[in-house]
Symmetry: C2
Subunit: 284 residues, 2 copies
């Protein structure tokens, strides 16, 4: 029996989230069905993050076990079976004790907001009616960094043994009407990123006071009301694991960052992709 | 009677192209229906470019005539009526003799190719199985610049009085697995950009000889076979008109370039958009 891992990108628009559910299209359900066809036996996958309905991923990591040898080339054969909104980007052999969810040291999410109509980003960003004060957003993000109890920023928080999370990075960036929130932490509560974006947008719009935001963060005061930003702006971006837990078997050499501005360079591509390499430090 | 013009962006995935057809969803048909609802009378629009089924636009320009005053704010009210895959970005008052198609001095198209699977760009780019030789693509594009008879690179070319086009710019750029072809010309034959991309990709793949490509361009030799790259990689990007032909009435201040890499800057937004301005030199 060997444990394998995949790096996945998916457009969550057409799925009721990651987690397998009966009679409902989910990303994990679709993946399990096509992995089973390809490998020739039933497959159960475990994902690093259980993304909700409409949420996307650029670097979701999943693992599964099999005693069968994998067909090669694996990625192109799997992608030929999967629908176009789910793509396998890399295949790894995992250490026997690797677990896509429990072994993750950190996860990074990104969330996009925009102030203008755009038919190409409508499924990948939240539209806000007027520009937001970036310095206000930046001050709010700075408060998030560190270890806090995020109980006021999650759904179904009672199911967790504790609600403390270590945020190692939280920041906003802005370019031409597009705002990007980036947050990296050891763990995230259910709907936590959407709740944090919702709170910060309300702060910047003057609809939530700093006092209430600080009380939610520092005293778990839930009176601010948990406004969830819509799912379509959210991406599970990257998952980081301990060194030597994943050994790269196959990957695509060239990967732009989800979208492109079309501001392409003219650097020539390397024409000979190498598809294997040394054990990576993280799944990226 | 006044003549107005709109700048439109649309995702062509769900439409049978630009041009109105009975019992078929088209971009112009959808726009005419919602303009009529908003203005309160039947509307016929003329577009700068008749994009084919599945082709997108970032800067399509349309004009129409009406004696009625336009409701304000016009753009947000029109966008509230239009489906999310068609967005009006700017409104202009046009000179009485302005014509979205006939007055255009130049049109710019962009086409994206990628060498890797990407669920977010699947509707906006063509996937090629292996990296392409960029210098080959660049040499081919350089040959296109200037005035040529493009009869070997178009569909239904017999319906044109002549098939000569002046290409003022043609280039390729590359970044992280994403190739971008950009071409600007005074006019384009039907399916011409897709035929040019198809020929250049075949050249770079060694499936079309330089002799045959040159013969197609210089002697209208059609023996190379007219391989059309798929529509979803193509964008009508920008249309340029004579100075003072369009007077800006309303627009969105912040407009990212169709997609974004998420490589956002931290430059602060201006918080007070000005929605009118001096007569623009072009529709951009």
């Amino acid at each position: 029996m060997k444990r394998y891992a995949l790096k996945l990108a998916y457009d969550g628009s057409s799925y009721a989230g990651w987690q397998v559910q009966p009679h409902t299209p989910t990303v994990a359900g679709m993946l399990e069905g096509q992995l089973a066809r390809l490998i020739g036996e039933p497959v159960r996958v475990v994902g690093a993050g259980r993304t909700d309905a409409g949420v996307h991923a650029w670097g979701q990591i999943v693992h599964w076990d099999t005693a069968k040898p994998l067909p090669t080339p694996f990625l192109s054969r799997l992608n030929a079976l999967l629908p176009g909104d789910i793509r396998a980007l890399a295949l790894y052999e995992a250490a026997p004790d690797f677990h896509a969810r429990h072994s993750a040291l950190r996860r990074t999410y990104r969330y996009w907001l925009r102030t203008y109509p755009n038919p190409f980003l409508r499924a990948y960003s939240m539209e806000v009616p007027t520009p937001l004060d970036l310095s206000c957003l930046e001050q709010a993000a700075a408060l998030l960094v560190g270890e806090h109890d995020f109980a006021a920023f999650g759904k179904e928080v009672s199911r967790y043994s504790h609600t403390r999370c270590q945020v190692v990075h939280a920041s906003w960036a802005y370019s031409d009407g597009l705002y990007e929130f980036r947050i990296e932490a050891n763990r995230f509560l259910r709907a936590m990123v959407r709740a944090l974006v919702g709170a910060q947008v309300r702060l910047a719009q003057g609809r939530l006071s700093w006092e209430r935001f600080r009380a939610a963060l520092l005293q778990q005061d839930r009176r601010w009301g948990l406004y969830l930003a819509p799912p379509q702006g959210l991406f599970l971006w990257e998952v980081t694991y301990p060194p030597n837990s994943l050994y790269l078997l196959e990957r695509y050499e060239f990967l732009s960052t989800a979208f492109s501005t079309g501001a392409a360079s003219t650097a020539a591509p390397k024409l000979a992709p190498d598809s294997t390499g040394a054990p990576p430090r993280s799944a990226q």
